[in-house]
Subunit: 97 residues, 5 copies
Amino acid sequence: VIIARVTGTVVATAKEPRLEGMKMLLLQPTDAAGQPTKGAPVVAVDAVGAGVHDLVLYAAGSSARQTELTKDKPVDAVVMAIVDLIENQGGIAYRKS
Amino acid sequence: VIIARVTGTVVATAKEPRLEGMKMLLLQPTDAAGQPTKGAPVVAVDAVGAGVHDLVLYAAGSSARQTELTKDKPVDAVVMAIVDLIENQGGIAYRKS
Amino acid sequence: VIIARVTGTVVATAKEPRLEGMKMLLLQPTDAAGQPTKGAPVVAVDAVGAGVHDLVLYAAGSSARQTELTKDKPVDAVVMAIVDLIENQGGIAYRKS
Amino acid sequence: VIIARVTGTVVATAKEPRLEGMKMLLLQPTDAAGQPTKGAPVVAVDAVGAGVHDLVLYAAGSSARQTELTKDKPVDAVVMAIVDLIENQGGIAYRKS
Amino acid sequence: VIIARVTGTVVATAKEPRLEGMKMLLLQPTDAAGQPTKGAPVVAVDAVGAGVHDLVLYAAGSSARQTELTKDKPVDAVVMAIVDLIENQGGIAYRKS
């Protein structure tokens, strides 16, 4: 599970039929304070109603298909939580505003 | 799910029988604006009729087998969408021409 | 299986229903002596009652769903052991204090 | 799916019984022209009769078990095609000699 | 499948019950000559009686669960062969002593 910032969205008309109606978010992996890491951008299906600027958690690989929305779908990344608070090293690293 | 540019194709006569008839695309991972990242080139099966120069999305791992075409096949990457538009940081990062 | 230090926790109210009640730990991958490596931070579900400062082992991918707690859940990392002792290169690299 | 050069072979007498009789190839990941990339060497089971010097494609992860040969085996990489031709950027990047 | 040197062992008393009795080895990924690569250390379950100093092969991901020992266990890496000989670039890169 990786922490990432939602920075945008991806629109694709021509796609595998099983992907119809799924909202695809553009994510930038971040550290525990929400600062971008060197990780490349990733696209993930939204399973929790996340929006641009939210700090989220996404799961990759076959685990990305373990939601009602993504079951048996050809997606390998799903946003499955919106982060409220991260405690790190004894302090508060991030709090949703 | 990773954003990538289709830069070419791969032909292989000697291959696992289950791969017969599949079109294999050469992909260069890109950022949200379609610019190449440092990621190494990847080969993926085409499930959506993508062509050279298209910006596409591909899924990796077991999720790559979740299409009619790739079910139970020894492939770990599938192109499952052609990108029309990417919004990033409040602007348009990429639009299909 | 990767060695990591628990450095904090992540709280998320809006999440996939299947994740209710799971404790999510913030992990920093380390070497055999418990020193941080360059690996980016990871979030994993706790299956063994680990706490902040513990050196732990986590499994990723589909293997992360092979516990009673995480079965069929959209998580791709699980803490499944708390490290007591690591022997490396003929000496003791780490001992839990 | 990754492009790689077969550079050698690996012999192991003591091994998991399910691996008996499998030919294990040493692979160096390459770019589309067959030139080595920075990727570390990988060992993969041969499913297509590939030989040293061949440029091949290999699949990783659970997809590596989707051949008759590797079904239910503890291997996470399989060579499933020998490359004849790679077209890239409008030209011929590699042709089997 | 990755080549690695066994450099030590990991002991964990508090662990997922399914991991009871499994021997966990500390591995350093190596090149074909047995020299350490930049890859971070990995912990894997031993399925072949490997010992410290042995050069071994390990499989990762779901493939790590395809042994009698690791079936349905929350482990994502298994040592499934002890290397006797590696031929590379027409010469002998490694021979077990």
